[in-house]
């Protein structure tokens, strides 16, 4: 329980985001400690992706504060987030389909030669190393990523997130496009990264994806936090109750979105 006294890696306080009149995120609080996996659960449209996109810089928040390792962070765009070591694997993978794996891996952070031109050879060599570790079967380095399978595209997206010394990794529905073997692979990867002290947010609408990997879960409903708690203090059914009904079980700390009884 020493996690309680350490400074959280990420602390998002009182975060709000509205689209028109719709409160997508309503005064939400979430935190994450080093080496911890936090599952963020909720129905489609519960606001979990929005909350996390605020952290990764894709959306600008209307209110609230973000602290990285105890210090207030100013995140206005994806570049800012990357500066704090926040890397994201997006649900739609966010790959440029028409360029190859190495170009995607280094997109926005290309290796340059001493004349300032692209060092494609170094990037490809480096990509071969990274991909060799992540997915040894990966061979198609010269083809646009549109030619790759879902699992291969996923490994490119993950490789891109972890290759640049991420401290915080956000994975939005990381296994949505994958078969069972590849899903297991992602699970192994999450454990490995966790042991390296990286904090991980796993976002999913499916409780089974998250329950076995996460240390804690936080549940959202209608843009509000229903509650959060350690997985060993809750059953799957209780978490399901949080997702569907907004009913906070005794093992979890209730949030503003919890059903008042």
């Amino acid at each position: 329980m020493d996690a309680q006294v350490r400074t959280p890696l990420i602390e998002m306080k009182d975060i709000s985001l509205a689209f028109g009149g719709v409160k997508a995120v309503d005064h939400a609080y979430i935190d994450l400690y080093p080496g911890e996996v936090v599952g963020l659960l909720g129905h489609n449209g519960a606001g979990k992706s929005c909350l996390i996109k605020i952290l990764s810089g894709a959306y600008k928040r209307d209110g609230g504060q973000i602290f990285v390792a105890g210090e207030e962070a100013h995140i206005a765009n994806p570049r800012d987030a990357k500066k704090y070591g926040i890397e994201t694997v997006y649900q739609a993978l966010a790959l440029a389909d028409n360029v190859d794996a190495a170009s995607n891996l280094y997109l926005g952070r290309e290796l340059l030669t001493r004349w300032g031109t692209l060092d494609d050879a170094s990037m490809e060599a480096e990509a071969r190393k990274v991909m060799g570790r992540l997915n040894p079967n990966f061979r198609r380095f010269k083809e646009p990523v549109s030619a790759l399978s879902g699992g291969q595209r996923q490994s490119v997206a993950i490789a891109r997130a972890i290759h640049f010394n991420a401290r915080i990794l956000i994975m939005d529905e990381p296994t949505a496009a994958l078969g069972p073997a590849e899903t297991a692979q992602v699970g192994e990867l999450v454990k490995q990264l966790k042991s390296e002290g990286i904090g991980i947010f796993l976002i999913s609408h499916d409780i089974h994806d998250v329950f076995d990997l996460a240390d804690r879960v936080t549940v959202m409903k209608n843009g509000q936090i229903v509650g959060s708690g350690r997985v060993e203090d809750m059953t799957k059914d209780e978490v399901l109750g949080m997702i569907i009904l907004g009913k906070c079980p005794p093992g979890a700390i209730p949030g503003p979105g919890a059903m008042q009884s």
């Binding site: 894709a58 994806p78 570049r79 966010a94 031109t117 050879a121 490809e124 060599a125 198609r140 010269k142």
Partner: protein
Amino acid sequence: MTTAAPGATHAAPEEPVFRRLLRATEIDTRMLGMIFALLLIWFGFNLMSGGLFSGLFLTPRNLWNLSVQTSSIAIMGTGMVLIIVMRHIDLSVGSIIGFVSTIIGVAQVRVFPMWLGLDNPTIWILSVILALAIGAAIGAMHGSLVAYFGIPAFIVTLGGQLFWRGAAWLVTSGQTIAPLDPTFALMGGGPHGSVGATVSWVIALLACAGIVFSIWAGRQRRARFRFPKRPMWAEILLAVLGCLLVVGATSVVNAYPWPPRVAAAWAEAHNIPVPEDGLFISTGWAIPVLIALVIGFLMTFVARRTQFGRYVYAIGGNPEAAELAGINTKRITVMVFALMGMLAAVAACIDSARLDSATNVLGQLDELYTIAAAVIGGTSLAGGVGTIYGALIGALVIQSLQSGMVLLGFDSAFQQMVVGLVLVAAVGIDTFYRRRTAKG
């Protein structure tokens, strides 16, 4: 950017020879298709104008003229590729030509000589710098409206087309300004605006050396990282083909002599006796063609080897992903339109120099031919796909059609109809081809 799969070099022995050749040399089949179409057009016109090998189309004179006529569309085509790759369009380039040419026309005929005196050797440099600055500024302005105000490029540049054409008229009140500065006029080509036989051969030699060096350097780089290399025979074949193309084209332009009267006038001015069968002075590469080739080379470099180029393609492939990867997509949009504006300004210099006059109607419809060149060259309007060399070949295809039909005495109305048909057919064939290759 990517042509062959790794391991392609280990082709199975039963593979047909032609396909093995393509794999080993990593030549793009689309490019081969375009070159084939171009040769078909060339020999077709040659056949119709006299005979397959004795027609009027494939003569040094016609090919030389063709090269000069192609250069300005080719130059703009290289920029239009990047614009279209980024899922935008630029309908204003023809009007930018008109506006820039009237401004630099006024500047070099009425303004600069007042400060520097007539025929000052710096006038042409100042004119070119002025043209580039105006072109870049107009492009950057269009790009900013697209990027920061979210107005679709189609609308911004359609507005620009009307606006700059009107502005061009205002600059001179519709007057044509002529003649231009004599040094500046050399940029338009013509006997004096060409480099002659010796310099042409020197350029050809340098180009061949460049081809051999780049193939060698590429091989070294692949070896250093232990990537699969092309077989040696394929490398040699590529080098030989490249050099043959350079040498062949150079002999063609050198085989085109100065017109007799120009040659006679030059001989008289230099006190050289004219032999009875006339003086043979090789024209050589025309300056606008050399400018176009250099720009084609530079733009290929920009598209393939710079971060800017990589971002343009990535944004075209998936704008959202590029933004999420931390690319400043708005800045890249402004830059790409500014680059297009500069290329239109280069075209304005060449076009006005070629006519030795500046007028507000210069470059009319050029935006459409430029877009057609890029699209015929394989640039996809869906974004993300397109090559610089494709646009160069596309420009050559369009100009070949125009020039061939003029040669055969076709009506100009008919010419437009044919170019229109070819554009639609080219994109149709391309779509069909892509769909088939996508299926497997």
